[in-house]
Amino acid sequence: MRYQLIGLNHKSAPLEVRERLAIPESRLPDTCRELTSYPGIEEGMVISTCNRVEIVTHTSNGHADLRGFLHDHFDLDANSLDPHLYEFREKDAVRHLFRVASSLDSMVVGEAQILGQVKEAYATARAVGAVRGQLDQLFSRAFAVAKRVRSETAVGSSSVSIASVAVELAKKIFGSLQGKNVFIVGAGKMSELAARHLMAHGCASIFVANRTYERAIGLAQKFDGQAIKFDDLYNTCDRADIVITSTGAPHAIFRREHGEQFLARRKNRPMFFIDIAVPRDVSPEMGKLDGIFTYDIDDLQQAVTSHVADRRKEAERAEAIIASEVEKFEARQSTLDVVPTIVSLQDHLETIRQAEIDRVRGRMGQLTPEQEIAIEALTRGIINKVMHTPITTLKSAAKESEATTVVDVVKRLFNLQVRPKDVSLESSVKKEEAGKKSEVGTRQ
């Protein structure tokens, strides 16, 4: 298990540093190739999001100079970069990756995006051949762990973005959002995002009003909606059940009298105002009207914060899952570490056995089928008996810290040439089994 990981995230580095290290998607394949050609690195991949840059590698000796790679690649001097970096090896690297994939290391704990980003990074690196057996195992496990965390804890269940809180609130008011109309006042990124969320939950149609009419048209087209002249705002607004407002107006554009108008025209059916403008677009007086529900940016943020606190509690349970998964992964990995030694030990003895049988044949001439069977059974029996204890010892040593020592001793005693481990879990296990059964003649 010679995993090594280096990186920085929103906690370790300020935005200025993170943006200097961010790698655009188009350059990821090249970076991966560059990474794997760096001395000591066998496999490697890069996760680059707005909150983190992580370099995950499998190295030949467990001590590759990942810092050096970063300095070279980004052409940055050590002083400006190093204080923000964290570096993990082996078990710690595994744990860190599991936490990242499960969204426990995210700025908003439990957000679902990160898993998708990690999967994409993995696919990119895999496509250029930078990820093979070792990282393959690590990442497929990481994805499984993330899935387990998501299904066994509520860490991702409550809404922790402004947009999703807005949807949740709308549902508390209207029940189903099916057939509800949305009005965007002031075309901005955030209102667009909120509108997108609402539409995804079944809202029927969208109106857009903006001071610059062209921008309203632009945004309306995106949603197949209808652009409204800003002057017509008050005449049309009552057609919407949900109003997302984010104009740059210096004072409230929705006042109590407007609210009264809307309600009268709507026969008092409730309206939900999502006011993400600062200064606010909806006057507090209007929010007091029966049937008008106003949530400003602070209210939404407050809801987000309290959900985040809930998530934190769930995150503790998730950490426990991860701890046990790391143990499991490590145990399996170390078993895998001794597998090549066992296979080559078996190969070695099989070669000797075949050679000896051939010698006997040469001396005794043609053997009868009965004799062949007897010799085969005799030699195989001896080898199996002799091998039993060493193999058991190797396997049990794999779970202990002495694994490397035992493996070294066995290698030296039998003068084994262990082939490099380019094998994935399945192939190595298959080989182990194949070795156990018979490879008669194939290696002569």
Partner: protein
């Protein structure tokens, strides 16, 4: 025997009552399921009790206690219908306590007294009782819904995010429940009053009808408030505080009309 079944039913409704109090402070899926099943079982016992009464051959529903028992049962039917449509037990918060109270009083003792003077109008009398009680039950549910509406509205306005995850259904769903039961109850109530009047006017034993009798005045008042409620809702979509105010008023009027049984000269159970 019918009383025994009613007491079984009461035991089941007690679970519902406890649920009603607990649900106000915390949400528990398990408990709401338990309460729901207990209430269903209570209804079965209740039904058996009412059937036995009916089979006893007399219009014994016309006793106060049996009337209350019937009203409780009809309210439970409303609750169940709402559950089937909206999959929510939250109206139970209001319905369960009332049902429990009504059943409790009804289960106290036997009251085999009759509105003896109306025996000649047996059919009309049954129709009157069934219609008016259905109207009452609808009014009760509507009243419950308007209270839930206020609660939910307050939660949303208070912007306390933690309390947003509550047992209450969405505001518009509560509103629908209230409005639909209001609409449904109105014709029942109206027809109930009409049949009642027919019985009162045509019954030979009663003589001249005194229109200033408290029962009649209060019934008319209740009906008027009911109509105002339906009208304001239909015409200008009144809901929330104003609707709750009206619903409370109608509910109190209904209670008063019921209480009038004790001092009315024409509409009187028992001793007269």
């Amino acid at each position: 025997m019918s009383l025994l079944w009613l007491r079984f039913a009461l035991g089941c409704y007690l679970v519902g009552l406890i649920y009603a109090f607990v649900a106000l402070t915390r949400t528990s899926d398990l408990f709401s399921r338990i309460a729901f099943h207990a209430a269903s079982m209570g209804m079965v016992f209740h039904f058996v009790s009412l059937t036995e009464l009916f089979l006893s051959g007399q219009i014994v529903w016309a006793s106060v206690h049996n009337g209350e028992s019937l009203l409780a049962f009809l309210s439970m039917i409303f609750f169940m219908v709402i559950y089937m449509i909206y999959k929510t037990t939250s109206p139970g918060v209001v319905v369960f306590p009332v049902v429990f109270f009504l059943t409790f009083v009804a289960a106290l003792d036997e009251q085999p007294v009759l509105l003896t003077q109306f025996v000649s109008h047996k059919g009309w009398l049954i129709a009157h009782i069934m219609l008016i009680f259905t109207g009452y039950a609808a009014l009760l549910v509507s009243f419950g819904a308007s209270i839930l509406y206020l609660l939910q509205e307050r939660r949303l306005k208070a912007k306390k995010p933690t309390s947003l995850i509550g047992f209450l259904p969405a505001l518009e769903i509560i509103d629908q429940i209230g409005y639909r039961s209001l609409l449904l109850g109105f014709p029942f109530m109206t027809l109930g009053l009409i049949t009642g009047s027919v019985v009162a006017i045509t019954a030979p034993t009663i003589g001249r009808v005194d229109f200033l009798d408290p029962k009649i005045l209060l019934s008319v008042l209740m009906w008027a408030v009911y109509m105002v409620m339906v009208f304001t809702r239909w015409n200008s979509g009144w809901r929330g505080r104003r609707a709750a105010f009206l619903a409370t008023f109608a509910f109190v009027a209904a209670l008063a009309a019921w209480a009038a049984n004790y001092f009315s000269t024409i509409h009187r159970f028992g001793t007269s």
